[in-house]
Symmetry: C2
Subunit: 308 residues, 2 copies
Amino acid sequence: MPASIRCLLLAFVVACAPAAAQTPARPPTMQQVLDASKPSDWRALDPQNTLYLDLPAGRVVIELAPAYAPRLVGNIRTLAHERYFDGLAITRVQDGFVTQWGDPDAEDKAKAKPLGKAHRTVPAEFDRPIAEEPPFAKLPDGDVYAPEVGFAGSLPVARDAKAGRTWLAHCYGMVGAGRDVAPDSGNGSELYVVIGHAPRQLDRNIALVGRVVRGMEWLSSLPRGSGPMGFYEKPEQRTAIRSVRLAADVPEAERTPLEVMRTDTPTFTALVESRRNRSDDWYKVPAGKIDLCSVPIPVRRPPARAGG
Amino acid sequence: MPASIRCLLLAFVVACAPAAAQTPARPPTMQQVLDASKPSDWRALDPQNTLYLDLPAGRVVIELAPAYAPRLVGNIRTLAHERYFDGLAITRVQDGFVTQWGDPDAEDKAKAKPLGKAHRTVPAEFDRPIAEEPPFAKLPDGDVYAPEVGFAGSLPVARDAKAGRTWLAHCYGMVGAGRDVAPDSGNGSELYVVIGHAPRQLDRNIALVGRVVRGMEWLSSLPRGSGPMGFYEKPEQRTAIRSVRLAADVPEAERTPLEVMRTDTPTFTALVESRRNRSDDWYKVPAGKIDLCSVPIPVRRPPARAGG
């Protein structure tokens, strides 16, 4: 039976065939770019910047972004050290928007879990000076929301060169710190992840603190909450959080070793090109363009052998 | 505890307060636009163009798009009349991409369910002449992929005026007909819905046939398949389809009455503006822009009384 899917599978198989099987005129597929990547195209996650959100279904791995939200990331490290999140819950899943977790009793002063040594308020970290940004790889096709967009430190970013400001973009899988009306009211004790089309209107209005690099399905496939904005209406509908740990606080044998593709390399440029112009037989009209949140940032388990 | 969410809820409450409570300088919120809408801003779903996908968890309502894929919509009507989909299954859920349903045995000629009077192949309906398009409301902020984008017939569309062509855009909730490598190999017996960030690279490469207007959560929150491209690896992992029916084939008492907002009205223009520039206190930097797939197309149950 006709299946776009089956064709994509065929394309994948073709991509695994020897390069000689490709006609020279075709740009490489993403799989060919990945297969040709060098060890230096990847970097291991830093245990100090890696958060494990362990749910009953599995582990979610989040790479934190201290270059963009240093104070919030510091607060989140403190909360994880102190096991603040253990036993709390996923409180909200709004279809096509966000999944959110934290203390269901946060608004009840008598029952709210203490924040320990963490700061109650954190000055807004909605954007940063461009001068302090990691190396920036600009995407060629523009953006509806910002003067320019691209990648820095393996994260999707938007920039306004005239204003000298840069900020993380609300793409699928990006993690942010919920806040109240006051800009400094987000402190990292309540986090959300984007599970639908990129809600870019949130950019520069709330601080993103990292990106899910593994286990996104455990956050995106949860039952949607039936209350306003996707909040669960009954406590038993919530998913319990087993623990949230900084990887550095976890014994090495219990860590999840992962590497993320660097975005400041010719290999990443080739990967973007492979997605701008799909070269397999299934595509009849290659887009010739790509938007920021459609570019995958590859993640892999480290190869078994050096250089593998 | 700080919660972006809580603030948005506050904004909602404010929006329900008398208009006098708003300062005159603020543009209306989306809720205010909806509250001020007239009966003529809405249209009832046409039972001939409405498909009910009944799953164990609930009903998914799909509005078909005969203006863009007349032959495929015709084939889907035939398949629904003949109860082709009943007892088939959701076969694939790929995180951040698509959920797909059809005949798990489609590739096995001995076991595949017969297509009855439906056509085995359907000429490609990937784009259409602009001259035949319903009234088009252009979005003001441009698009990464197409010369212009906007809405026609309550659907997100992209256009190339020079080429005289228009096509439906792969936004969240859009439904398409899977196909094989041959452009005419899609026949509507295998359908998919977008469950992540808009995969616009599919535009003009595969035919979209409609949009989910109710029950999206029953398709987006399913467990992800662990096989290649999100296919389920074991039959028992699939979700069974109870039935797929054209609303016109269902007794009126069993229908789900819904109205969709028209997109060729000043009210819809005001709604777009309310999303381009959020006016509630939570937003510090209104985006001032919006991308095609971030514009909601409101759906409601018909008001109890005329004009209500």
